[in-house]
Subunit: 222 residues, 2 copies
DNA sequence: GTTATCTAATCTGTATACAATCAACGTGTT
DNA sequence: AACACGTTGATTGTATACAGATTAGATAAC
């Protein structure tokens, strides 16, 4: 694997999982030494991360990890509304229905596990990732898929902060399962509306979780 | 201005306006000599263009200008539907109404000019660009704005190929004007629906123009 | 005639050295 | 004391050299 890819992956993961929190300033020489690559591939990694919206350049100081605020969260949900309702519609028209029927069963089973604490939550997150994958594959549209992938990156960062409780997870599972059902039935309108509902509720849940965080810390989320 | 920016701009423009048509293979040394920059900034430019979706890397051969097909056009319109309907809705809720009232007047006046041939078409394209700008500003959402900017890049490439006639331009102007009117009135639902209609019609017009091109050339659009 | 392998040549990736730009700080002057 | 200017230090941007990988072509063997 290329050195620039290694640097990109490492920094990407560290930003997503909070090892490099918002506002962290990254110098070129400093990071190239830490990651064991020279400045050239490191700069390539920086540029890609700037393109992803995870870093931004501050002239003279270095690149800085993007700050997440309550504002950011709302903006991302607005974008998701546009992208995911459209994706759900298209998936309902084009998906292999068998895939989504099986996915529905998996959701049905997972709902028993969610009560079981942390390990159940992991199962649910994996299942959600599978759902996202299935949608992207079903829409058969590389441009839409790329846009979805980008927004999911930012959501992953937010989700890490806005940890939620089993009750909320179960709600989310039920909402998602309805979307899956609509797609399996080829019902585009229902799939879109169920997605709208889910995003609305999810936004509320995440905002609530973020507010809980804000009570402890400062204005920023991470 | 930085050498990498110069290289990026130059290549970007050349791809958009067709000087570098689809399928053109670009070598690093070749292009760095032509543009008068060294390989390091040129590679940065290449990477940005790959990120934009205008180039893709073909291992061993170099980077290649992305091919536009009828398929691509449909995919972009599907993405636009998701993004622009949402943008129109949000703009209707948040825009400074005076801005869109003035824009409405400009459309009203431009409609007289469109009959006048090529110069009138230019005015209309400028006005459309102004409309896009106004939407992006009104939504006040950097993530949505970035997604819109990217899709518009690809549309610019397509529009250059799918040159259309004054009658079709006038249709488009009327459709867009209705969107502007809805936003000026703060009517989010109408803005979204008018956008849907406009995109549907625009897709038909562009597809027709693309098909006309295909009769002469090959399978690819450019 | 086809296939396999070796070689040569080009292209990609990385490191490093050099140059230019920018910011912060201190010094001097009004 | 405040402001302007210069100097120093660090940081960013560019060029180039070197190393590794990959492809195409040629030659030879089956």
């Amino acid at each position: 694997m290329r050195a620039s890819d290694r640097a990109y992956r490492k920094l990407f993961d560290e930003i997503i999982d909070g090892a490099l929190p918002s506002g962290t300033v990254l110098g070129e020489v400093e990071q190239s030494e830490r990651l064991g690559v020279s400045r050239t591939p490191l700069r390539e990694a920086f540029n890609r991360l700037v393109g992803d919206g995870l870093l931004h350049a501050e002239p003279g100081r270095g690149v800085v990890v993007t700050t997440l605020t309550a504002e950011t969260v709302s903006e991302l949900y607005e974008l998701r509304e546009g992208l995911e309702e459209q994706a759900a519609r298209l998936a309902a028209q084009r998906a292999d229905r068998e895939v989504f029927k099986k996915l529905w069963e998996e959701f049905e089973q997972s709902k028993n596990l969610i009560d079981g604490g942390d390990i159940g939550a992991m199962v649910f997150y994996d299942l959600n990732a599978k759902f996202d994958e299935a949608i992207s594959a079903a829409v058969q549209n590389p441009y839409l898929a790329a846009a979805l992938k980008n927004v999911r990156t930012h959501m992953a960062r937010i989700r890490r902060i806005a940890r939620t409780n089993p009750k909320r997870l179960l709600e989310a599972a039920n909402e998602t399962q309805l979307i899956v059902e609509a797609i399996a039935d080829g019902d585009a309108a229902l799939a879109a509306h169920a997605t709208h509902v889910h995003l609305h509720k999810s936004h509320s849940r995440v905002s609530a979780a973020v507010r809980e965080q804000l009570e402890n810390t400062n204005q920023e989320v991470a």
